[in-house]
């Protein structure tokens, strides 16, 4: 029976185990060394792995990713940390142009096995520049993979998969979950494969597609709907690119209805693509329009009143499910 770990501890355990297993894995980022990272993710690791495998970087996000790419080209597996996902905008070119296109422009003769860890998401009073969910930009760019675990188990298993993957993987770890998501996490190599969704709750009436911090309120809403005799199947995508079409289609074929819930804004958030794909490929299975419940098209405000107004939660998800059930 595995111990319980927090999401944050699970991330650390994945890093530690991977670094012990493979001397080519190293960590770089701001304050990741002796300090142990802004959130404490890498705490204690500096002692074991030393300065050259836990590199405290200058405030240079572009260089953090660029250096990672260089090291990856020589067979290393760097795990780069953005202190907050919001700052990934400062490393944008290195990710979308340098890393994402390298294998292609090398004619397949090289790969870029880097992981960029990006603490994302709101509900922690972070305000405009410490709450963002920038996954859509990277899902849109060919050549990248994108994951976003919602449980401690997946946090560990997906990070291991990301580190071992030969492609650039953007790993979104949700700040709200760091200490709040706790659960059984096996020691050792329990890999969560990239590209495979998890059905968190089975149901026959509505498919709810979500990920990250929205999984818990979605499950709560699903439970409420069960009281109303509507059985909601909750699918945690886990991998956002490539998302698990098979699992999604299988569920929607069964339920004929789908709600997408995400914390990212609506316009061109991942929900748009999921909806469009269902439209194109499962139109005849749909008894109702695929609906989206997301953050509105706005920024992430600091005020708790404002932030709560924006965040989808069990109540708004419940309402959306009811509307969809009643369509």
């Amino acid at each position: 029976m595995p111990r319980e770990l927090s999401y944050l501890e699970a991330i650390r355990e994945a890093l530690v185990e991977e670094m012990r297993r493979d001397p080519k894995v190293f960590v770089l980022g701001e304050d990741v060394g002796a300090y142990g990272g802004a959130f404490g993710v890498t705490q204690g690791m500096h002692e074991e792995f030393g300065e050259l495998r836990m590199i405290d970087m200058p405030i240079s996000e572009s260089a953090i990713v660029g250096v990672s790419i260089g090291a990856a080209l020589r067979g290393y597996r760097p795990v780069a940390e953005m202190q907050f996902a919001d700052f990934i905008s400062c490393a944008f070119d290195q990710i979308v142009n340098q890393a994402a296109t390298l294998r292609y422009r090398y004619g397949g003769r090289a790969s870029v096995p880097i992981v960029v860890r990006a603490p994302s998401g709101g509900n922690v009073g972070g305000g405009l520049y410490h709450s963002q969910n920038p996954e859509a930009w990277f899902i849109h760019r060919p050549g990248l993979k994108v994951v976003a675990p919602s449980t401690a188990f997946d946090a560990k298993g997906l990070l291991k998969a990301a580190i071992r993957d030969d492609n650039p993987v953007i790993y979104f770890e949700h700040k709200y979950l760091y200490r709040r998501a706790k659960g059984p996490v096996p020691e050792g190599d329990e890999i969560v494969p990239i590209g495979v969704a998890a059905t968190r709750r089975e149901g026959t009436d509505i498919t709810l597609l979500t990920y990250g911090a929205m999984v818990t309120p979605s499950l709560e809403a699903a439970d409420r709907l069960a009281n109303e005799d509507v059985e909601v199947e909750v699918i945690d995508l886990r991998t956002l690119m490539p998302f698990d079409k098979e699992a999604i289609f299988a569920s929607v074929e069964k339920t004929s209805r789908a709600l997408i819930v995400h914390e990212d804004v609506k316009t061109l958030g991942l929900g748009a693509e999921l909806s469009a794909v269902l439209m194109e490929e499962r139109f005849s299975s749909l008894d109702a329009p695929v609906m989206r419940l997301t953050y509105p098209d706005t920024h992430a405000p600091f005020s708790q009143v404002l932030e709560q107004a924006n965040l989808p939660g069990a109540n708004t998800i419940t309402d959306a499910l009811r509307r969809l059930a009643g369509y």
Binding site: E30, D31, G33, A34, Y35, A38, D56, M57, P58, I59, S60, E61, S62, F84, D86, F87, S89, C90, G125, G126, G127, L128, Y129, H130, P296, D297, T298, H299, P301, F302, S303, Q304, V305, L306, E307, Q308, A309, N310
Partner: protein, 393 residues
């Protein structure tokens, strides 16, 4: 470029003992100038209302033994002005200290990055500015807002995320600005204020006014690409901008020697074709004097200057940071260089600050802060609908 054939850093940068901080290890250089707190400004104000003679100002820290290139600008400050400076130092200190308390009490949820210990920089740089001049502060420079005319109420409301704050609750800290007062409010992205500062300065150049922009950044932020692009552009266009580096020795947990292979950020100015100077950032009159010189150059079309202010933050990076990465001894040394205490002694020694005036100032400060906290506490939250307004003009 170096003068000798020696590898530049071979001797200067072996893996330095983390306990042996530079200012402790090298009292003969930086420590000296600011360690001797009593000498602060003594020669600057030759007589209470007198005109100090050029060249007699407080010793700037002169990296690599060079003389700072900024002319020792003469200045004259009345008793009244000196006391005003003192008031600002006190007010800003008190504001940050109250914020720190409010965080501990759970009343402020915002990330709070105090500038306690660094107040001389904000006060020294802002004191001589015009309303039309622009400031582009970073996260520890709350005082620039106050000195440029934002009320303590508005600033406190901003920290509380209230509707009465500058951003109406959209963000806290210094992520908002006031164009009418010449304050640019940056994002969180370090260094991203500097290209904007250059753009503001460009408009002053276009208009042939002699207004200036004062832009702030930490030594850590000077490693960001935007720093480079902004300073280069400012240099090539000879823009009226003064770049103020607040070198407090740390970027979050990372000491300067782990983030750059130089001791003085000021040397970077040379790569952009203008002058850089490193000064004692804990001496409000030294900062004032250096800024005066740099501002005068900017106003007269002579382009940018980089003024590096050596200083130290007393608190952690944020109020949540226990700052285990530094020693108590180091902190104690820097507390002995408190810009406020030293300026108090100086003003007392000059008989500018009497007991009566001190009481008066402390009362003013306390009531301003109390009032601000009360105001912000009682201020309304923004309306939920405002989460989606003010996105587009």
């Amino acid at each position: 470029m170096r003068q000798s054939g020696q590898p530049a850093l071979a001797t200067a940068r072996p893996h330095r003992n983390r306990l042996l901080r530079r200012d402790v290890a090298r009292p003969h250089r930086f420590g000296q100038a600011i360690g001797m707190a009593r000498s602060i400004g003594t020669a600057v104000v030759s007589a209470p209302d007198g005109v100090p003679s050029a060249g007699a100002g407080p010793d700037a820290v002169t990296p690599r033994g060079m003389m700072p290139s900024i002319k020792r600008t003469k200045f004259k400050l009345s008793h009244q002005q000196l006391l005003e400076m003192y008031y600002w130092l006190k007010l800003i200190r008190a504001f940050d200290e109250r914020l720190s308390t409010l965080v501990k009490q759970g009343k402020v949820r915002s990330g709070v990055y105090t500038g306690i210990g660094q107040e001389a920089i904000v006060v020294g740089t802002c004191f001589g500015l015009r309303k039309e001049d622009y400031v582009c502060p970073l996260h520890r420079d709350l005082g620039t807002f106050l000195m440029k005319g934002v009320t303590a109420r508005a600033m406190m409301s901003q920290m509380f995320g209230k509707a009465t704050g500058l951003s109406k609750g959209r963000d806290s800290a210094l992520h908002s600005g006031v164009s009418e007062l010449g304050i640019f409010g940056n994002t969180s992205m370090l260094g991203a204020n500097l290209p904007v500062a250059a753009g503001l300065a460009l408009t002053f150049k276009m208009e042939k006014t002699d207004n200036v922009v004062v832009a702030y950044f930490g030594e850590g932020a000077s490693n960001v690409g935007d720093f480079h692009e902004a300073l280069n552009f400012a240099g090539v266009q000879r823009l009226p901008v003064v770049f103020i580096c607040e070198n407090n020795q740390y970027a979050y947990s990372v000491p300067i020697e782990k983030s750059m292979a130089i001791e003085d950020v000021a040397v970077r100015a040379e790569g952009y074709g203008f002058d850089g100077v490193a000064i004692n950032g804990n001496d409000v009159l030294a900062v004032y004097q250096a800024t005066l010189g740099a501002v005068a150059r900017a106003r007269t079309g002579q382009g940018p200057t980089l003024v590096e202010c050596k200083t130290y933050r007393w608190h952690g990076h944020s109020e949540h940071d226990k700052a285990f990465y530094r020693t108590d001894e180091e902190l104690a040394i820097w507390k002995s260089r408190d810009p406020l205490t030293t300026f108090t002694s100086y003003l007392e020694g000059m008989n500018v600050l009497t007991g009566e005036r001190l009481t008066e100032i402390e009362t003013r400060v306390k009531s301003a802060i109390d009032d601000a906290v009360e105001f912000a506490t009682n201020a309304p939250d923004p309306a939920p609908e405002d989460a989606v307004t003010d996105l587009y003009a």
